[in-house]
Structure formats: structure tokens, C-alpha cells
């Protein structure tokens, strides 16, 4: 109806005729009469935002975004640009999924509830823990929520949250914000050659520790070798062992339940989302015993009036809209649609495909490390550990200068030290890795 010369909202359907009829029905002369805003706070300025046609708007955004350089990204450190199969887009963009609200009327939301139930089940299988919520914002906020869970479930007088010194700034800082309103304090413990320094950790842990956080793989790509020991240290101190990881790593690496993890957090969108400038999906799984203290929404099975299986949001008395200031979290809008995508991506891969993808994360990273180690002026990997998906390399020249050169040649890498670069193979094709090694050799 709006043709090419719309005024007003292009999405409001009112014609002059219906407008008149509606105003008459409500007894107003003009729409303005319906507003009850004191004159003093009325706004009569203009935003200065020109309306555009749909085509012009698409052109505008495209033009702006084309200012991004087209780089092959060997980037990771918590965010991964795996290839996302086409079915994930096509199915998750089905508009019933995309345009629906939270499932407060389950009778007309069974499809989304079931998808979220399948997502929860995926995480239960991957972690070995019995409870997974149906999403938090991202890995960082899930970590923050884990700390508040620790606060609620640990009745000891503890207040210390222990995190590794090697941790992404975003995660550490977000965690600190989450605990700022509590009496908890965040402290780091030392790492040794990319893994947890077990001795240092043991020393740091006492009865005031209520939570120990570790990651597998670590931010520098090393596979943590002492998970069971960390679990034991935590158990001895009656502290919660919170493990940071992700669904692809979990497909191959140790099952968290087997090493004593109480909570698993991380970014589940490694499955389901391409690199999206840090947009994620907070994975949150825990033991059944903490069920009533879990933050976030939970989908459960139930029965409908005809005794058929049906799904519904459940245990909502934990949530803010019921319990207000005594809720287990303030989260309301979450990342449900990303969880849907993750479930679809996992199903598209199947267990075989997920394991294979994980194995390739090991073999391809280690093979790339060997390739760059063979170059003069590079030593890789820096850590004498097994690696998953990425690794740190020592370069004799200043790392930043090499990274800049690489960027000019079309490759993005992490600078993680004055003479340290980090390379990640996730989502990068073999051909691109070959080209990268060649280019690295050239710019050295």
C-alpha cells in the first residue's frame, strides 16, 4: 500500500478512512488528542533522521559494511567462525520461530519449546550434568551467573571466586560486574605453561573460596590436563568447580561430569552462529541438586489435558517476573533463537560430525603449528601442551608489525604478546591455511 511515496511508518496499515473511523470510535479529533503529555516535556524537535526506501536502506547498510576489510580470520580466543550449514539459516529463519515471543502460552508454542528442550538435552549429553537452561547471553554473563549461583548454594562464609590469570578481559570484567553487588571478590590464580598451575591453585584455595573457574581448552588453545585434580581441589574446599568450554570441545574432550564439574559455562554459539562480532549464546549446565537455584529459563516436559506429552517453561518461580528481587537472575530476554540454531547445527552434524570437527580442531592446529614452527624466526607452539583449535607462536620480530603486515596481505591474527601471535584454524579452509603459511613466510 505504501508504494514508493509513503509518509509515516511504512509498516502501519492505516488509511485515511480507517483513521477517521477509529478516531470517531474513541471520540478524539486528532491522534494528538490521545497523548497525555504535559506541554513542558513535549518534544517538538526533529531527530534529523531521513526516511529511506527499503532499497536505499539496504544500499546504505551495504555501503557502510563494505568498509570492513575482507580478511581470512585466524581468530579465536573464545569466538569461532565455523562454517554454518545452510539448513541452519533456512530453518531458524522460518518466521514462526523468528517472530515469536517467549513461550508464555505454551499451547501455541510447542515447536519452539520442543526445540529448546532438544537444545537443553544436547548440553546434558555433552556435559554429563543433568540440568541445562535454555540460554544465557554469552559465555561471560554465564560465568557471572555461575558466581551468583555459587553464592546462593554455598552456605559457607566463603567469598572468594578464583579465576585463572589467563582469561579474556571480557569474561573477567563481566564476572566482576556480576559480583560487584555481592560480597564476593574475584582473585586470579597462576597458570603454568598455558594450563592451571595446580600447586598455585591448591595454595590459593582455602575455606573462603566458594568457586574455582577453569577453562578447557584455555584461551591460549591448550588442552587442560588437570581437570580431575582441579575438581578434587574444589570438592575438598566445598567450592563450586565451574568449567568453561563449548559444545565442539565437549564433543571430544573430557566430559565435565567425569572430572567433578558442578557448573559448565561457555559459548554454545560455536555451533550455530558464524562470526558475529562477538554475539554469543551463554551455555549453562549444572547438577540436579541446584535445580531450584538455576538462573534462566528451563523448558520441561509435561502433559496436556488429553494426556499427550507437551512442553512448557517450568520452575518459573525462580524468575524475575514472578519472584522479583528474590529471583535467581534478572535475565528475561535471552538468546533462545541462537539456541535453536545451535540445536539445528548439532543435529546437522550428528555425533560423528561433531567428533570429527573436534578432532580436526586438534590435528589441524597441531599441523599448522608444525608448519609455522618450520619457518625461520617462529617457534610454535609456545606451550608444551596439546592444543585445540588454536595455539600461541613466538616470533622473533615484533608481533604487532607482523600482524599488520599479515592484515595487509588479507589475514587477521591475534597479537597476544610483544613477541607472541595466536593462530586459530576454526572455520579456515586447508587452502587458506596453506596460503597463510606462505604469506607468513613472506612477511617475516
Amino acid at each position: 500500500m505504501n508504494g514508493l511515496h509513503a509518509t509515516g511508518s511504512p509498516y502501519a496499515p492505516h488509511t485515511d478512512e480507517t483513521l477517521t473511523a477509529m478516531l470517531e470510535a474513541v471520540g478524539a479529533d486528532t491522534v494528538e488528542d490521545l497523548f497525555d503529555i504535559p506541554e513542558a516535556v513535549q518534544y517538538d524537535g526533529e531527530f534529523g533522521i531521513d526516511a529511506r526506501t527499503e532499497r536505499e536502506t539496504r544500499q546504505l547498510v551495504r555501503t557502510i559494511l563494505q568498509r570492513n576489510a575482507d580478511l581470512t580470520e585466524l581468530l579465536g580466543r573464545g569466538q569461532y567462525g565455523y562454517y554454518v550449514p545452510s539448513v541452519v539459516d533456512h530453518l531458524s529463519n522460518r518466521s514462526e520461530f523468528l517472530t515469536s515471543y517467549t513461550q508464555y502460552q505454551p499451547e501455541v508454542s510447542q515447536g519452539f519449546l520442543q526445540a529448546l528442550f532438544e537444545y537443553q538435552s544436547l548440553l546434558v549429553e555433552l556435559t554429563g550434568l543433568s540440568i541445562a537452561n535454555c540460554s544465557m547471553y554469552d559465555a561471560a554473563s554465564a560465568l557471572g551467573e555461575a558466581a551468583t549461583l555459587a553464592k546462593r548454594v554455598r552456605t559457607t562464609s566463603g567469598h572468594r571466586v578464583l579465576i585463572p590469570e589467563l582469561l579474556s578481559e571480557g569474561r573477567r570484567s563481566t564476572l566482576e560486574n556480576y559480583v560487584e553487588g555481592t560480597d564476593l571478590t574475584v582473585e586470579t590464580y597462576a597458570t603454568a605453561d598455558g594450563n592451571v598451575d595446580l600447586e598455585a591453585l591448591e595454595e590459593a584455595v582455602d575455606e573462603t573460596a566458594i568457586m574455582i573457574y577453569a577453562e578447557n581448552p584455555t584461551i591460549r588453545g591448550t588442552i587442560e590436563e588437570h581437570l580431575a585434580e582441579i575438581g578434587a581441589v574444589a570438592a575438598d574446599a566445598d567450592a563450586l568447580f565451574v568449567l568453561g568450554t563449548d559444545p565442539i570441545a565437549l564433543s571430544l574432550l573430557q566430559k565435565p561430569a567425569d572430572v567433578g564439574a558442578d557448573v559448565v559455562v561457555g559459548d554454545a554459539s560455536v555451533l550455530g552462529l558464524p562470526a558475529s562480532y562477538g554475539m554469543g549464546l551463554g551455555l549453562f549446565a549444572t547438577r540436579e541438586s541446584y535445580l531450584r537455584q538455576v538462573p534462566g529459563r528451563l523448558v520441561g516436559a509435561s502433559e496436556d489435558a488429553t494426556d499427550r506429552r507437551a512442553f512448557t517453561l517450568t520452575l518459573q518461580t525462580r524468575e524475575q517476573h514472578i519472584r522479583r528481587e528474590r529471583a535467581t537472575s534478572n535475565i528475561c530476554t535471552n538468546q533462545a533463537w541462537v539456541a535453536l540454531r545451535t540445536a539445528i547445527h548439532a543435529a546437522a552434524l550428528g555425533p560423528d560430525g561433531m567428533i570429527e570437527l573436534a578432532k580436526r580442531g586438534v590435528t589441524r592446529a597441531e599441523s599448522l603449528a608444525a608448519d609455522v614452527d618450520a619457518l625461520v624466526g617462529v617457534k610454535a607452539p609456545v606451550h608444551d601442551r596439546r592444543h585445540f583449535r588454536e595455539f600461541v607462536a613466538h616470533v622473533d620480530q615484533p608481533a604487532k608489525a607482523i600482524a599488520d603486515d599479515l592484515e595487509r596481505q588479507g589475514f587477521a591474527v591475534h597479537v597476544v604478546g610483544e613477541h607472541e601471535l595466536q593462530f586459530c584454524v576454526a572455520g579456515v579452509t586447508d587452502d587458506e591455511l596453506d596460503a597463510f603459511v606462505e604469506t607468513l613466510e613472506e612477511v617475516l
Partner: protein
């Protein structure tokens, strides 16, 4: 319509063998659904058909602003150039930064705020940033101990939960007879302990807080900050700005006001705007113009991160596209039509609407009927029901927000559904819905015997 779980159709247990890693670093096996691509597609296609979305029909959830989500915004968000890693150098993602910077400017002028952060990934996260910024501000400027946040009884649940998460005691504020802030009660609640008053305007009854200037003055006089919950901003677009009313901090729900899809519960985005005094406390990193380009920087007294990176980028780029599409005229027209639609719908239904004049939403009372039952029964008429049983100030509340995108015809269809149910007896209501994919679902059984994964179902 019934669709088994994927795992009930096809599953495989795979042993981890021929692993490149030693056994003690790996799990033993993995058992997951294993559908073929055609079967996967059918599964999720069928599931989608068991979901009611905005594209299915009217969705008048009060306080949720369920607008039509323009399809073209999906296209711009899936441009390959939109998909970059967050650790890229600033030089190499000038496009991404420009979108963010321009969206910040849009939101600043729309809200009348001096500075905006886009990092919070949802409205509640925005509230949290607001509360943390307020705390940091007080810590930085005050000697006094401010440990209370005042919140009207009728406010969104997230306000209370957020204040508590921020470490504050919540002081609950009763409404006056008209459904607005009771100034005397406010006076009594304010003290040197007051960190902030969190307010939604129009409030959850759809009423504009006419005394907003007085309220602002009172809060400021007490040394507190005034927080604007942006859930209802759609009512005011182009007609009034929180910044002009004296608010110091606000969040925007872009998945409400700026038409990005709700996605079955998320992702959304909850940018936060502040007056200039508070800008130094905003989360890092922020984006700004620099030398004809854009750069990231950390505000002087930043509270740090509230998200691992920069929030929900894919949502933000859609919001940017929406605002750039509709412009001034479209924004201002949205609030006009949203308010007209709410008033028109209210005029056509037989349920009583005790409070007014309301704006983009109204709260009717189901009277002797159970509001939750009314909602279930409305499903049988092929429409989505309003939010129910809240705010509690209205007995058996039916909180209704049609938004600007509904036509008179659709509103008439909605009114017909309301009015049909209004005539019906308790028996019919209690056995509703009858025409939906699933019939009434047993909530008690779900909560008493939680089955939260296929593993739990199989243990039964």
C-alpha cells in the same frame, strides 16, 4: 500435530576412537540424534508450524511491543561483510564500527541522552548497566552510603531483580489512586540512602507520569538518579524524550521499539543512554569518531564489561536498518498509531479498563473471570492473548498492547475474540484451549516432576 523428539527417531552412540589425543584427555563416547538432512529439515519445519509468531497474527502482549519485523533487516544482517570476528583490528572493521556509532547517535537523539552504549545484550542487561553506572557514579562522587533503589509496585519484574543483583535494597513504591507514582509515598521513600528511582513512562498501565518533572526534581534533590525503563518507549517516539523529562539513565529495548525480532525469547539488545555526567562510567569498549574514522575507547571511569564483547551485533544492525528506513516521520507516526490502536481496541471491548488516559497499552480487568483462563480461551479464536494477571493493581489484569502495525480490521477481530470470551462461562474457559496444537498444559506436573532433557524422559 505431533512431532517426536529427534532423538526418538534416530540416534547414534559414537565411541571416541582413533583420536589424536591420549585417552585421558577425551571423553568415552557421545550419543546424539543423527538425522539425515531431509529428516532434519522436516523436523524443524514441523516444529515451526507449531509456533505462533507475529507473522501468524496479532500478538497484543502488553509491555512486549510485538511489532512486525521487517524482512529486509534480516537481509542486511546476513551480509557477509556483517560477519566479522570481534578481535579484528579497528582499522579492518570500520564498517562495523560505523554502524555502531551511527546507531548510538540515533539512540541519543531519540532518547534525548548524551551518550549511549550498545553493549547490553537485553533489556535486563541494560538495567544492570544502568544500576552499575549509578553505583559507580555515587561511589565516585558521594561520600554517603546509598544502598536503596526505589521501584514502583507496578514496575517490570526485571527492575527489582536487577536492583537486587546490583546489591541494592529495593524500596517498593505504591501507586496513587490514578495508577501513577504517589508523590507523598515517593517523598517518604526518598532519603540519603536513595541511589535511584527506576521508572517506566508511560507506566505499565499505559499512563503518562504527569508529575515527571516534580518526580525528577525530588529524586535529584535527594541526590538520587532517575532511571528510565525503555520498555514502553514506543508510546513516546518523537513526542517526548526521557532526557527532557529529567531522566539520567535509560535503556532502550531495540527488540521492542525498533522492531527487531523477538526470536522466541531472544536475542534482544538493551542499549543504555546517559546524561553527560554519567558517560565516563559506561562500559568499555565504546565506539567514537576519530580522524574521519571510528575507534574503540575505554571511558575514564568505566565499569568495565557486561558482555564478553560488544553485545548482540546481529540485533543492533537490524535496529540500525529499521531506524534508517523509517526516519523521523516513521518513528513519530509509530507512536501515533500505537496509541490510537490501543485506544481504539479498548473502546471496542466489553471488559472494563479502569485506568486512563492510557497510551500504547491498556490494562483491562477480566472481572469475575480468571484472566489466565481468558487468555487460554482467546487462543481458540485464533489470536494471541494479552499479558495476564499483571500489573496486580488491576484485578485479573489483561494487559494489552496492539502496537501500530495492526489494522482496524485486525483490531476488530481481536475485539471480537475478547468479547466472545467475555460472554463465556467458567467451564468453557477452564477447559480452553481446545483448538490449539496442544491442549491446556499441566504446569504443576511440569514443576513437581521436572523433566528437562530427553535423558530425564527416558528415565521415567
Amino acid at each position: 500435530q505431533y512431532e517426536p523428539l529427534l532423538v526418538e527417531k534416530d540416534r547414534t552412540r559414537v565411541e571416541i576412537d582413533e583420536s589424536p589425543l591420549p585417552e585421558d584427555l577425551t571423553r568415552d563416547d557421545l550419543e546424539l540424534p543423527d538425522p539425515s538432512e531431509p529428516e532434519l529439515v522436516r523436523h524443524y519445519t514441523r516444529l515451526s508450524q507449531m509456533v505462533y509468531g507475529i507473522d501468524s497474527g496479532p500478538y497484543p502482549l502488553g509491555s512486549c511491543t510485538m511489532k512486525y519485523n521487517p524482512k529486509f533487516t534480516e537481509d542486511v544482517a546476513s551480509l557477509p561483510s556483517a560477519l566479522v570476528h570481534p578481535d579484528r583490528s579497528e582499522e579492518s572493521i570500520q564498517g562495523t564500527l560505523e554502524v555502531l556509532a551511527r546507531l548510538q547517535e540515533y539512540l541519543e537523539v531519540i532518547g534525548g541522552m548524551d551518550a549511549v552504549t550498545l553493549q547490553p545484550p537485553a533489556g535486563a542487561a541494560g538495567e544492570f548497566v544502568g544500576i552499575r553506572v549509578a553505583a559507580a557514579y555515587h561511589e565516585h562522587t558521594d561520600e554517603g552510603q546509598r544502598d536503596e533503589v526505589i521501584i514502583p509496585e507496578s514496575a517490570h519484574g526485571t527492575n527489582f531483580a536487577t536492583a537486587a543483583l546490583g546489591g541494592y535494597d529495593v524500596v517498593s513504591l505504591p501507586s496513587d489512586e490514578g495508577g501513577r507514582v504517589d508523590l507523598e509515598a515517593l517523598e517518604a521513600a526518598l532519603s540519603e540512602n536513595t541511589a535511584a528511582l527506576m521508572l517506566t513512562n508511560p507506566n505499565t498501565l499505559g499512563l503518562f507520569e504527569r508529575d515527571i518533572e516534580t518526580i525528577a526534581e525530588m529524586v535529584h534533590d535527594a541526590g538520587g538518579l532517575l532511571y528510565y525503563d525503555g520498555a514502553n518507549l514506543n508510546a513516546l517516539l518523537g513526542r517526548a524524550r526521557p532526557g527532557d523529562m529529567g531522566f539520567d539513565v535509560m535503556h532502550y529495548n531495540v527488540h521492542k521499539t525498533f522492531a527487531t525480532p523477538h526470536g522466541g525469547g531472544g536475542p534482544g539488545a538493551g542499549p543504555v543512554g546517559v546524561v553527560s555526567e554519567l558517560a565516563p562510567f559506561l562500559p568499555e569498549p565504546r565506539v567514537r569518531n576519530a580522524d574521519g574514522g571510528y575507534e574503540l575507547f575505554a571511558p575514564e571511569h568505566s565499569i568495565g564489561h557486561v558482555h564478553g564483547y560488544q553485545g548482540n551485533w546481529l540485533v543492533l544492525v537490524k535496529a540500525f536498518a529499521y531506524i534508517a528506513r523509517v526516519g523521523d516521520d516513521g518513528l513519530t507516526d509509530s507512536s501515533a498509531k500505537a496509541v490510537l490502536n490501543a485506544n481504539y481496541l479498548a473502546s471496542q471491548i466489553e471488559y472494563d479498563v479502569p485506568y486512563g488516559p492510557f497510551h500504547h497499552e491498556f490494562v483491562a480487568s477480566a472481572g469475575e473471570q480468571d484472566a489466565a483462563d481468558v487468555a487460554k480461551r482467546m487462543l481458540d479464536y485464533g489470536v494471541h492473548p494479552p499479558t495476564t494477571k499483571w500489573p496486580e493493581i488491576v484485578p485479573e489484569a489483561l494487559m494489552t498492547e496492539p502496537t501500530e502495525i495492526e489494522s482496524k480490521e485486525t483490531l476488530d477481530q481481536l475485539a471480537a475474540a475478547f468479547n466472545a470470551v467475555a460472554e463465556e462461562g467458567a467451564e468453557i474457559l477452564e477447559s480452553a484451549p481446545e483448538r490449539t496444537t496442544a491442549r491446556r498444559i499441566d504446569q504443576t506436573s511440569a514443576a513437581r516432576n521436572p523433566r528437562l532433557s530427553w535423558h530425564a524422559l527416558e528415565e521415567e
